[in-house]
Symmetry: C2
DNA sequence: TGTGAACTGTAGCCATGGCTACACTTTTAC
DNA sequence: GTAAAAGTGTAGCCATGGCTACAGTTCACA
């Protein structure tokens, strides 16, 4: 009984394109996630280095609200991926690549926050939301943000 | 040699508040991520149900670009969390809660896309970016978006 | 100067979200 | 009405990003 389906794939060829576009978008969004964590770490390490001259795993852990073990594990991944360096017990530093990434991430973060503020989002919410949003903003969208802010005389 | 640090915690009490604020923001962002996946599934299932009358794991998998096994596993999590129902081999349906969530997610998605379009982001990028952004937009920011669009006579 | 506190690092556990491989239903089509 | 195709479900693997527990190192200060 309960005969719910009548599949069979005549329209498969028709449906596919849209399906694939959506699938591609989702995959891209998913894979952006692992990058997001690294970006946060790099951004924070750059901040610690520029304000205090050093970045130690425990500081990173505290600022990100994770255990020091987690911070150390992620930092070692940063090193594996060529974004950070440093000797045991001697703090963490950024490679050239790491510094470039940090600069890019910081600029993007500021742009997103400014954008939200310009739209009237309260400061606290703007900062918090930007933390999540910034990792998913494409170049095209960044450019649009910049133009919008410029046209308003802000930024 | 290499005496880099002079820790010792006199300023700990002073630094803590800002540190905690940031840590809280990060944790919130992190925990938003698990919700993001469920939201995507619920939104898609709602879409499949409304357009085709049924939602089958394989369709979900194809549209999201994951294997059918992954889709089934996630759908069973949806069921565990009270968002979906359905009998084996008989398709997936949304509970009341699932439907409410789907409606909220859909409205938010539309608002984010409209917002990006209003700012001059190209349509393709707007759709793609919204997929990632939408999960991190707070109520306050949504409200700001809505007001902005209204003030421009859009939406 | 040596010792305790703080920090660093390692090991091993858990859940999530992917995957492939295999087994089992259901539906289609002959 | 049955065999093949399509869909569904289960098992078991992997990497990531959390955690706690424990071991090792460095530093501050008495």
């Amino acid at each position: 009984m309960v005969r719910i389906r009548k599949r069979k794939a005549v329209e498969a060829a028709v449906e596919l394109p849209a399906e694939l576009t959506q699938a591609r978008r989702f995959s891209k969004t998913r894979s952006a996630q692992s990058g997001a964590l690294l970006e946060d770490y790099v951004e924070l390490i750059a901040d610690l280095l520029s304000t205090g001259g050093e970045a130690r795993p425990t500081d990173v852990a505290r600022r990100l609200g994770v255990s020091h073990a987690t911070a150390i594990k992620t930092i070692s991944r940063l090193k594996r991926e060529g974004l950070a360096t440093g000797l045991p017990y001697r703090g963490v530093f950024l490679t050239q690549d790491g510094q470039k990434l940090a600069a890019r991430v910081r600029a993007r973060h500021r742009l997103v926050v400014d954008m939200l503020l310009a739209l009237g989002v309260p400061a606290e919410a703007a900062e918090a939301d930007a933390e999540g949003i910034e990792h998913y903003v494409s170049e095209a969208t960044l450019k649009a943000f910049a133009q919008f802010l410029e046209s308003r005389g802000q930024s």
